[in-house]
C-alpha cells in the first residue's frame, strides 16, 4: 500500500466521520432538549477527524484531499434519510452518484 493510498483512505474515513458529526449537529438544531450533548458528540467526532485529516495531509495534496472528503455528503444524505427523516429523492440520489464519480476520479488521480 502506497503512502498516497493510505492518505486517500484516511481522507475517506474523515468524510465518513464528518457525515456522522453533521447529523449530530443537525439533531442539536432540531431538539432543544439535550442540545449540548449532540453538539459535544459532534465536536468530539470533529476533533477525531482533525487528527486523522492532519495525518492524511502529509500524504496527499489538499486540493485532492478536500474533494474526496466530500463523501461526507453521501454519508450525511443516507443518515439524514434514516435518522432525520429527510426525503432523499431520485434527483438527490443522482447528485450523490455524480459526487461518487467525481470522488473516484480524484482518488484515482491521486
Amino acid at each position: 500500500m502506497t503512502a498516497t493510498t493510505i492518505g486517500v483512505l484516511l481522507v475517506i474515513l474523515c468524510g465518513i466521520i464528518e457525515g456522522i458529526a453533521q447529523v449530530f449537529f443537525k439533531r442539536s438544531a432540531l431538539a432543544p432538549d439535550g442540545k449540548q450533548l449532540w453538539i459535544g458528540a459532534g465536536v468530539a467526532l470533529f476533533i477525531l477527524q482533525a487528527l486523522i485529516y492532519t495525518g492524511a495531509l502529509q500524504f496527499v495534496e489538499v486540493s485532492t484531499a478536500f474533494p474526496i472528503g466530500s463523501i461526507a455528503f453521501v454519508v450525511a444524505a443516507i443518515l439524514s434519510e434514516r435518522f432525520l427523516k429527510e426525503r432523499v429523492t431520485g434527483t438527490r440520489w443522482t447528485g450523490i452518484v455524480l459526487i461518487i464519480v467525481g470522488v473516484a476520479l480524484l482518488a484515482a488521480h491521486a
Binding site: 503512502a3 453533521q22 447529523v23 449537529f25 443537525k26 439533531r27 442539536s28 438544531a29 432540531l30 431538539a31 453538539i39 465536536v43 470533529f46 482533525a50 485529516y53 492532519t54 495525518g55 495531509l57 502529509q58 500524504f59 495534496e61 489538499v62 486540493s63 485532492t64 478536500f66 474533494p67 466530500s70 461526507a72 455528503f73 450525511a76 444524505a77 439524514s80 432525520l84 427523516k85 429527510e86 426525503r87 432523499v88 429523492t89 434527483t91 438527490r92 443522482t94 447528485g95 450523490i96 452518484v97 455524480l98 459526487i99 461518487i100 464519480v101 467525481g102 470522488v103 473516484a104 476520479l105 480524484l106 484515482a108 488521480h109
Partner: protein, 136 residues
Amino acid sequence: MAASTLPAGLVFRLALAVILDTAVHIVWKLAVLQLPNPGALPAALEAASREPLFLLVAALFVWQLVNWLQVLEGCDLSYSQPITALSLILVLVLSALYLGESVDTLKVLGIGFVFAGVWFISRTDHDSSARSAVRQ
C-alpha cells in the same frame, strides 16, 4: 437557484461557511507543511502543538462551528451541506496559486462531477419533515 429565496441573513451565513471552510483547509495545509517528514506521527503531533498555524486552524474551526450551527437552525442538513462544496473551487484555485499544487484536466473533471452532484442535490426540495419527525 433555490438559495436566492433564503433570508439574507442565511445567505450571508452560508457564504461565510464557504469562506471559512476554504480558509480552514488552506491554513491547515500550510500548518502541516511545517511538520516533520511523513510517518513520524508522535513527533508530528509534538511539533503541531508548537506550531502557531494550528492555533489559527483551531480558531477558524470554532468560528466555522458557531456559524454552521446557526446555519443548521434555519436550513436542512441535506440542503445546506452541499452548498459548502463551493469551497472546492476556492481551495483548488488557492492551493494552485499559493501552495504550488498541480491542477490538470482530470482533477478539474473530478471536481466538476462533484460540483454537478452538489448542484443536483441543492435543486431538491429542502422543506423536509425532519423537524416534526424529531419532535415526535
